[in-house]
Amino acid sequence: MEYVIIGNGIAGTSAAEAIRRLDRQGAITMIADEDEIPYCRPMISNLLAGDIAAERLAIRPSSFYDDLNIKPVLGRRVQSIDPAAGKVRVGDSDLIVPFDRLLIASGADPRISEVPGSQLPGVFCLRNRSQALDIMAAAEHGRKAVVVGGGLVGLKAAHALQSRGLQVVMLIRSAHPLRLQVDASAGRMILAKLREHGLQVLVEAEVAAFEGSGKVLENIVLADGQKIPADLAVIAKGVAPAAGFAADGPIGLGPGGGIVVNNTLETTVPGIYAAGDVAETMDVARREKRVNAIWPEAVEQGIAAGFNMAGRRVAYRGSLSRNVMRIYGLDIMTAGVVEPPAADDSYEVVAVTDKHRDIYHKLVFRDDRLVGMMLINGIEQGGVLLSLIRREVAIVEKKERLLEPGFQVGKLMPQYFK
């Protein structure tokens, strides 16, 4: 059996390990752009902050490829896939790799900025280790930084640059940060906290251009004409599935631009699988196909894809959007549907606030199922709530009880554990 895996991120890595648990003989080739030992992508922001050394990013031993008897083809990009012939073309070269089973685990690419000047040196993205190192080098000489985007990566980038001693301005299009994760009241709480910690945040700000004389970035120009001086800028406008090489073949893409998979992680083409940030899966809370580009999903999908590729049928239960972040003195944990559609009365919202402890907790139910949560501070029991969402159990007690102080797993009725 010839297995080929595109990408050495956590989805590809987890899949390779799962395959090897079942199949010691088959040949595994991993083709990946980044010439690295598998490393922890989320921790590049800790690297940028100066909290950890670059060596600490690796999450597998340097003998990883040897240990698992994997043929690594690193520093090369897959250009195209020929599903009918069962072949992958690497680069624009002659290297053609045949496969019996293919896993696409190419992750996601940062959304780039189309505005003039976004190619200037000093304008960065934060997606991989080498970009983090480039930003660190630029920050050595810089004093002022701008972060474009108020999502999770934007916040982490801003926090990291502040830790490096830079003055940071964050530009966000919406009225508050984390627009995709939290509602407006939580957004206002978070905004106030960021400002308290010395981050300058401009809301409803649209970037019109990156401006520089010669080869260095000097200003970010906003649509209203305002100019913000900056030595470096990080663009964090979210990510899109890295599925370009599959765009005009028979492999089906979904509305989110990801590669659509079924509950065995197989794409619309038999023998070809996808997992991680590139895959579009059934979201258990929303009940629709969605790209949930998060680490724990990439792990689970990678393992499930690997088992299925090696012949053990395992059913993947579907994905759930979820995030946790402890930053700027706030603990934020969110999952599933946080803002239900207003017109739909099958949804019910239960919320509590505690001004003294800076707590705002909100649960979203669809009929008798919990389908979403948003916890601002007091996140210890978030995993219990999240497991109720993931397991799609019918909630039998009064919904408010799940948010009472002292709630923990022992409060739940025993029927949840059958």
């Binding site: 600490r56 944990m333 022992g410």
Partner: protein
């Protein structure tokens, strides 16, 4: 292998286990001096109220596969191969709370600890008192539990013992043996009734 077994139906919520746990994980290992330590030692298991306000001891189940271990970003959570215990390496932990999001039992907490790098906040959870076990002692929470809500035994032995207890409690001719000691039953009943009165 012997494991800590939890029998919530016997818990009275006295929280002695929490105190014993915090002491066992202190630098000085004595309650008298532990209370003066900085950082203040904290328990790894948590007694909360159950569905009817009875006691409920909640500790790490050392699941296999462990959701926290799979979700851990820096690879700080690992399994001790000899005992199956799921442990956190405080040097590697980055305090991201990914484990709290993954744990369906809500047992993770984040605070300083004397074995962690100074002033660093790290994920904390039950470690099965491996250090005590090395010295031939049983886990501190079990040692101190007076009602048998926490026991240290093989899991099939625990199951057999429970079966025996149930059988005995319904068998005629045997010496009368209530399933749960009468005192424990009474106290739990009282808590439950109080709860129900409040709900009315």
């Amino acid at each position: 292998m012997k494991q800590v077994q939890v029998h919530p139906e016997r818990c009275l919520g006295c929280m002695q286990c929490m105190l014993a746990c915090a002491t066992a994980h202190s630098r000085t290992k004595s309650l008298f001096t532990a209370v003066g330590e900085s950082p203040l030692p904290k328990p790894r298991l948590h007694v909360g109220a159950g569905s009817h306000d009875e006691g409920f001891p909640n500790r790490c189940r050392h699941c296999d596969p462990a959701p926290c271990l799979l979700a851990c970003l820096p690879g700080a959570i690992f399994r001790d191969p000899d005992t199956g215990t799921v442990l956190v390496d405080p040097d590697l932990c980055i305090n991201c709370a990914s484990c709290a999001m993954a744990c369906p039992f809500g047992v993770l907490r984040y605070h300083q600890d004397w074995v962690a790098p100074a002033a660093k906040i790290v994920a904390q959870k039950c470690d099965n008192c491996l250090e005590r076990q090395h010295e031939g002692l049983i886990p501190a929470c079990v040692e101190v539990c007076k009602t048998g809500a926490l026991t240290f035994e093989e899991s099939d032995e625990a199951l057999r013992r429970k079966t025996r207890e149930v059988a005995r409690s319904v068998s005629m001719g045997m010496e009368e043996q209530p399933l749960i000691p009468t005192g424990v039953q009474l106290l739990r009943q009282a808590k439950k009734q109080r709860f129900e009165m409040r709900c009315r």
